[in-house]
Symmetry: C2
Subunit: 137 residues, 2 copies
């Protein structure tokens, strides 16, 4: 456990401090997206700024990616093909309006768009909202 998280940090060039290990392990365990606010609540002993900077460091080094869902940014673990050079796992995300979890949908393909005129698309942001499998009635 500890080891794998630590290795993960080192592999991405992030100095493995106690704080960072805790946050990374939380993300690994939870397997769902976490917002700054969630981390604040989870690690109420530590400071918002530290958590914020931890997330920013992780994002910059390619461990996690942020998704803006309805005003707040949630962070999810990246798959293997991401690094400090860039995030390459572009895929839709699903936000459950019941349990408020955000889930990656890497299996769902991003749609291709041909816009009529000379629009230059650099980024696609696709969020599906509804009930997840666990919250469906």
């Amino acid at each position: 456990m500890k080891h794998s998280a630590e290795q993960h940090l080192i592999r991405h060039g992030v100095h493995p401090t106690a704080m960072r290990l805790l946050v990374l392990e939380y993300l690994l365990d939870n397997r769902t997206a976490a917002s700054l606010g969630q981390l604040e609540r989870e690690f109420y002993r530590s400071d918002k700024a530290t958590l914020y900077r931890t997330l920013k460091t992780f994002e910059k080094k390619g461990l996690i990616h942020g998704v803006n869902v309805g005003g707040t940014t949630v962070y999810l673990l990246c798959r293997e093909n991401c690094s400090a050079e860039g995030h390459f796992d572009v895929h839709p995300h699903f936000f459950c309006t019941v349990c408020a979890r955000t889930i990656c949908l890497p299996q769902a393909k991003m749609p291709l768009f041909e816009l009529p005129e000379d629009f230059d698309i650099q980024e696609i942001n696709l969020i599906l909202k509804g009930r997840c499998d666990e919250c469906a009635d």
Copy 2:
């Protein structure tokens, strides 16, 4: 001018006050999305809360719809098929990273998704980011 905006308000059951006419005309003229902040800057004599409530009223009555693009909500005029009963013009939006305008793309079809398990999709949020036709090099 005045008449059409006024009619538009009345048709949607919104009492046409001076404030509301100004905001609606601004939206009609600009033909691009406006955020609360933009309106605040444009109508610096009036209050944020009033502008906020104006937008909310318009949205509730089906005149405009809000799109969350990277943290802030921008509002765009609805097409004909919206009303207080609901917003039915679901379509992608394009956000230009150069001029920061948000544009409706009603001509682009929303993709259909079949999610593997019993996910219940209620809403699709699709935002394309890049350079618009006017800002392309």
